[in-house]
Each structure stands twice: as C-alpha cells, then as structure tokens.
C-alpha cells in the first residue's frame, strides 16, 4: 500500500499536483495583495510624514471647538472630538431607527395597497413606487429641503396644523411628551400585568401539554392586559404633552424637529418605503394560491388566513431583502451632509477638515458604519432563523 502510494505521488510531478497548486495559487494571491497593500501603506506613511501627520487617535482628546445644531446628549463646543463623534453616532442611530420604523409602516401600507383588489388604489401605489424608485434619493432630499421646507413661511407666520403642530422655515414643532410623576406607578402596573400573564401562561403550560391555554383564553388575557394599560393611562395620566408656544423669536416648549432632520427623515422614509412596498408585495405573492384555497376549504376566516397562513410564509421571503433595505436606509442616512443634519459622516468631515487628519477620521467613520451594518445583519439573521421553515 505505502509503496503504491509513494509511486503514485512520484508519478504526478510537483507542478501538476493539485495540492501543491492550491497552496501555490493562494500564496501568489496573498502575496500580490500584501505587496499592493504594502505599497499603498508605504505611500500613505510617506505622504503623511511629509505633511507632518501621523496615524494616531490622540486628537480625539482635543477640544472640538465647533457647535452642533442638534444633539441628543448635552454637548458644548468646549467638549472633545470624541464627544462630538459620539453625538454624530447617536444622531445617525436615532434617525436610522426612527426611519426604519416609519418606513416599515409606510412600506407595508404601500405593499398592501399594491395588492388591493381596488384597481385605482393599486395603480396609485404602483405609480408611487415607480416614481420614487426611478429618481435619486439625493434629488428627492434637495426637493424636500431646498424647494419645500426652506421656502416655508418664517416663524411668525407658521403654518398651524391641527393638534398644536407648527411648520415653518426652521422646522417642525410638535407637542413633546413629558413624563409625569405618575409614570413610574403606571409602568409598574403594566409590568405587573405582563408578569402575571407570563406566570399564568407558564403555570398553564406546566399543567400538561394537553391542557394548553386555548386561543380564546389567550385573547381574553391580552384584552385584559390592554384594558389595564389603557385605564391606567387615563386615570394616572403618566405622560403629559408639552405644547409648543410661539414666543418672541421662536417656539418654546414642545419638541422641535429642525428642518434638516425633518427633510432627511421624510426623504429616507418615502424612498425606502417604496422599496419595502415591493418587498412586501413580492413576499405575499410568493405564497402559493393553493395555500389560500386550502385554508378557505378548511373554513378559516380571512383574518385567520392572513395570520396563520399568509404572514408566516410571506415573512420567510420578506426578511432577507427587508434586511438589506434597513441597511440601505442606515447607509443612506449619510446623505445628511447634503441637508446639514449632523450625523456621523458630517461630523467626521468637519473633524477631518479641522484636525487635518483625514485618514484616521475616515477610518473611524467607515468602521462605525461597518459595525452598524454588521450588527444589523446579525440581528436580522437571528430573526430570519426564527421565521425560516424548520426542515425536519
């Protein structure tokens, strides 16, 4: 055996041995990439040394010295670059999460409208999708920001919308929620209700698999929980809405959304919703007709068909492309720079210009986006695994 094996090994010359070739090919590729990267890095260090720069993040400790229009955390110009960067990161996350929520809601509505048996509604939804998908997001943002929001009347002549909402050049002023002292008791009440429900459910489950809580029992439980929450909300009034009031120069109180934030949010939501609408439509249409017919034959109601047959199967198709739409929205939020919203990219550009250190700053910004993307796809993949069919 060993003799035969060694004879065979000698029969194949080294340059035709697949195993040798595989290793050699990989070595060549790795070497080529390493040489290319090495050249680039050599050039980079040379150019940076020439300009008296270095690849260090020490500048993060220095005073930033620039103001940021809007920030979820307290920030002053005397704070460090690191804090300014954190503000940008939080702004990016804030607008992305809010955008994803709203775009999902609008997108599902568009997708459902597209599938509506009402011909007019489905044509209008299709027109919306075509119009939005075939024009660049940046042009849409420019139209919303420069041609609409910037042309609005001045603060003094604000457009008043029902529900104490005001719209003017500076942005959107809406009633802001403020937590009252009764918020904690209300939250405790709801938490107790949820805990009770979970405990009951666990208890019922332990009673045996045969005596699973019936569907009606579950509905009644959820309904009771909802009633507790709503009645508690009315009686305790845990959240007070602070209404914006026109002062001498500007509105005070309430929640002020700057026009750059509003433009970016509206633009991202309208744009992404068109894509999500198509994703939803594709997902629902992927459910085979036979499934619907079988469900009807079994006597399920339309609501049950939707909940038990269509949605579970459509979700399998929807989740992966939906993930990439969420990622696109997050990446597209970097267009904030065009309308002046201080997101992580805009603050990064300001930092790069001020410090004269574009290389580490851009590395930091790219690393940030990469991390956000990876975390988002990780979460969505976990969810995807839940909705995928279990192959047995």
């Amino acid at each position: 055996m060993t003799n035969a094996g060694s004879a065979e090994r000698h029969a194949v010359p080294l340059w035709r041995d697949v195993r040798v070739l595989r290793v050699a090919a990989q070595l060549v590729v790795v070497l080529a990439v390493a040489i290319l990267l090495g050249l680039l890095v050599r050039n980079l260090t040379g150019a940076m040394a020439q300009r008296g720069l270095s690849f260090e993040f020490a500048f993060l400790e220095q005073t930033a010295g620039f103001d940021i229009g809007e920030s979820p955390i307290p920030y002053r110009a005397t704070d460090t670059y690191a804090q300014a960067f954190l503000v940008g990161l939080l702004n990016t996350l804030f607008i992305s999460i809010l955008g994803i929520l709203l775009a999902t809601i609008l997108g599902v509505m568009v997708g459902v409208a597209r599938l509506s048996p009402n011909w007019l509604l489905s044509r209008v939804a299709a027109g919306y999708v075509e119009l939005i998908r075939n024009t660049p997001l940046l042009v849409q943002l420019f139209i919303i920001f420069f041609a609409v929001l910037s042309q609005l009347p001045a603060v003094r002549d604000s457009i008043a919308l029902p529900g104490s909402i005001f719209l003017n050049q500076r942005g959107l002023f809406v009633p802001g929620p403020q937590l009252a002292a009764t918020f904690a008791p209300w939250l405790a009440l709801v938490a107790a209700g949820v805990a009770g429900a979970v405990a009951t459910w666990a208890f019922a489950r332990r009673r045996g698999a045969a005596s699973r809580p019936s569907y009606h029992l579950r509905t009644i439980g959820l309904l009771a929980l909802g009633v507790i929450a709503v009645v508690g909300w009315i009686v305790l009034a845990p959240v007070r809405f602070d209404v914006p009031v026109l002062g001498r120069f500007n509105f005070t109180g309430g929640l002020a959304l700057s026009s750059s934030f509003t433009a970016l949010l509206v633009g991202l939501v309208i744009y992404t919703a068109a894509f999500i609408g198509e994703v939803v439509r594709g997902g629902v249409q992927s459910v085979r007709r036979g499934q619907l017919e079988a469900a009807r034959a079994l006597g399920l109601s339309e609501g049950q068909i939707l909940r038990l047959v269509i949605i579970p199967q459509a979700l399998r198709v929807i989740v992966p492309p939906l993930t990439s739409q969420y990622l696109n929205l997050t990446k597209n939020s970097s267009l904030a720079i065009a309308v002046g919203y201080p997101d992580v990219f805009k603050i990064g550009v300001t930092m790069a210009n001020q410090t004269g250190q574009p290389v580490p700053v851009i590395a930091l910004v790219m690393g940030t986006y990469l991390t956000i993307s990876l975390v988002t796809s990780l979460l969505m993949n976990l969810y995807n695994r839940r909705v995928q069919v279990l192959e047995r």
Partner: protein, 397 residues
C-alpha cells in the same frame, strides 16, 4: 303557487361591471376609491396649475446647455454629438442583430434624442445642435437597418462596442495640438458627466466584480476570505464615504508625483464601490448553475479556468443581466452623490444654476427638471430590464 319573478342578472361584462368589480366592490372599496379620486384631483389641479402657470421653466431653457454638457466649450460640442452618434449607430445595429429588448432600448434612445432635439430647439443651444440631435435619432434607425440586413458582422459589432468607450473618451477629452484640443475633465458636467460616470462605473467594475464573485465561491480559503472581506467591507459602508476617501485620501495613497484629476478619482471610487455589488449579483448567477454542469466539465477534462470560462460564466452572466441592469439604474442614481465631493454632474449643475442671481426662487423648477430627467432614463431602463427578464426566461426555465 305562483312563479317567483327573478330580478335581471347583474351585468358581469362591460365597463359598468368592471367598475363595480374593481372600484366599488364593497363599501370599503367605494370609500377608498372616492378618497383616492379626491386626492388625485387635488394633486393634479395644484401641480398642473403650478407647472403651467406659476413655474418659471425659462430657468431650464436658458441653462439647457449647462444641464446637458456642463461647461464644455460651445465650439467643441460636435465631439459630444459625434460620440452620441457612435452610440446611436451601435445601439441600432445591436437592436437589428439581436433580440426584441435591445429594440426597445434603441427605440427609447432614438425617442429620447428626438425629444432632446425639440427641447434644444426651444433653448439657448440653437438649431444646429437640434438638427444634429435629430440626425443622431435617425442614426439609430440607420444602424437598425444595417443590423437587420445583416450588413454588420456580429464579431465586428462586439469589437466596436468594446472600442466605443475608450474612443468616446479620446473624442471627449481630445488630443493637444490637433483640431480637437484637449478639454480638461473639470469642464465636463451635466448629464454628460452623469452618464459617463455611470457607464465607466459599470463597464470597469465588470471584470473586477466577476473575479470577486469567482473568488468568493472559490475552494481556496485565502482567495475566498480576501474576496468576501472586500465585498462585505465595501457593502457595509455608504458610497459617500468611499467618494470622500477617493477625493481626499487618494493623493495620500499614490506615489508623490502622480496626480489624478477629480473626475477620475470619483470614477475610481464608483468602480471600487459597484464592483462589490456586481460581485454579489454575479454570485447569484453562479449559484444558479447546477453542480452537474461543473462535474460534467471536469469529467470532460476541463480544468477550473476552462470550466469557468466555457461552462459556468456564459450561463451565469446571462442569468444576471436583468440584475445588472438594475445595478446600472441604481448606479446612475448614485452618481448624484459626486455632487457632495464638488463635481458638477446633473444635480451639481442644478445647484450651480440656482446660485445664479437670475434663477432666484426657481428652486423647485430646477430640481423637478433634474428629477424628471433621471426618471425618464431610469424608467426606460427598468422597463427594458423587465422585458429582458421575460425574454431570457429567468426563473421560468
């Protein structure tokens, strides 16, 4: 017992029945229809009134040359029309030689140029440009006839397509000390620059994307890891950051005396970016190839390279053509981002036009015009890609 009189049957055909079935099938549907009709009426009246009476479209006609070609010298415009004529003839000939979908594209190209000729006639560009554009529109049909009559060999057409991009580049940038003096890319702009960046982006990223896709599916771990790393890295960051890096950081990465102009830097950024997305499209096509094809090729004694070139890629690339048209559409839309690094493509020209004192207050007009141009281009291409999908029978075979 008397016979019960039955009411006449409800109509099941005809326009009334159609309305009842599709618009008023129940009270919810009726309510929805009325709401949508009301909304559409309000929108149509407002938009129509604005567009026909209030909007100052002269800001577009006055600056049409800027919108189309940027600051390209007026006396050298024939070079652009010539490059366009080359594209027209080639598209027409391909439409004649190949299938129905390229016929749609050729028709769209011809119609667009005829439309443009009419627009140009009403603008500052003058009648000569309009006539030349009309000639180009006709050139599509000349090419079409040549193709249908089989007067152009297939092979020649393929070579002509390959040569057309560098040829157009030479034509546009010119050669010093000739009747076509060189014109710096800083003077290129408008729609010309938009289309050039998108075309260069898709064409140059193609070989890179195919290699990356093959690399990602390779059995060699080092190749696979490097390809996957590149693709995921690029797809994880926004295009603006890559453009910004290409604009600001590229000089750092190049040897000291090498200078690359801004347009080329932006194009480089776009190529690096779209290669990663193209690779993912191609990977989809590669995965659709049944493994039996590859095993059969190996059994016939083809090595890996031969298998890829003769068996796998022809099938995979054919399957991903519609997806690549989609990529080209999004690339065309994404070219607007070069405005952010200061290039004057269509949107950038729009901003520049708005900076003129004479265009004060015409913000909506300018951006709506830009949006309409993008819409026409992208919509035509997306329709072509739907047809292509049906023609190639992707997913039905």
């Amino acid at each position: 017992m008397s016979v019960e009189t039955l009411p006449p049957p409800r109509t099941t055909i005809g326009p009334i029945a159609w309305l009842r079935r599709n618009l008023f099938s129940g009270w919810v549907s009726s309510l929805m229809t009325s709401l949508v009709v009301g909304l559409l009426l309000v929108l149509a009246i407002n938009i129509g009134q604005w567009a026909l009476t209030e909007a100052r479209w002269d800001v577009v006609s006055r600056n049409l040359r800027l919108f189309l070609v940027g600051q390209y010298p007026a006396d050298q415009l024939w070079r652009i029309w010539l490059a366009l004529a080359l594209l027209s003839v080639l598209t027409g000939a391909s439409a004649g030689l190949f299938g129905r979908t390229s016929r749609t594209l050729a028709f769209a190209l011809s119609a667009l140029q005829a439309l443009l000729a009419a627009l140009v006639l009403a603008s500052s560009l003058g009648p000569v440009a309009a006539v030349l554009l009309a000639v180009n529109a006709a050139a599509v049909w000349i090419g079409f006839v040549l193709g249908v009559r089989r007067l152009v060999p297939r092979r020649l057409l393929v070579y002509a397509w390959i040569a057309s991009l560098p040829l157009s580049f030479v034509l546009l940038s010119g050669i010093a000390d000739t009747p076509m003096p060189s014109i710096g890319s800083n003077l290129w702009g408008g729609l010309l620059l938009t289309v050039l960046i998108a075309a260069v982006g898709i064409v140059l990223s193609f070989p890179m994307g195919v290699l990356l896709a093959l690399g990602r599916r390779s059995t060699l771990p080092a190749v696979r890891i490097l390809s996957t790393g590149y693709i995921e890295l690029i797809r994880g960051v926004p295009l603006v950051t890559i453009l910004f890096m290409a604009d600001v950081m590229l000089p750092f990465f190049l040897p000291g005396d090498l200078r690359i102009d801004r347009v080329a830097r932006a194009m480089g950024g776009v190529v690096l970016f779209s290669a990663a997305y193209l690779a993912e499209n191609v990977r989809g096509g590669l995965q659709a190839i049944p493994s039996g094809q590859i095993e059969a090729a190996h059994a016939l004694g083809l090595n890996t390279v031969q298998t890829n070139i003769h068996i796998v890629l022809p099938q995979a690339l054919r399957a991903v053509i519609p997806a690549n048209v989609g990529l080209f559409i999004s690339l065309l839309k994404d070219t607007t981002l070069v405005t952010i690094v200061g290039l004057l493509e269509l949107l950038g020209i729009g901003r520049a036009v708005l900076a003129q004192p004479a265009s004060l207050g015409a913000t909506m007009e300018v951006y709506v015009f830009v949006a309409v141009v993008f819409f026409v281009l992208c919509y035509a291409m997306s329709q072509a890609s739907y047809r292509l999908e049906r023609e190639l029978g992707v997913g039905t075979r």
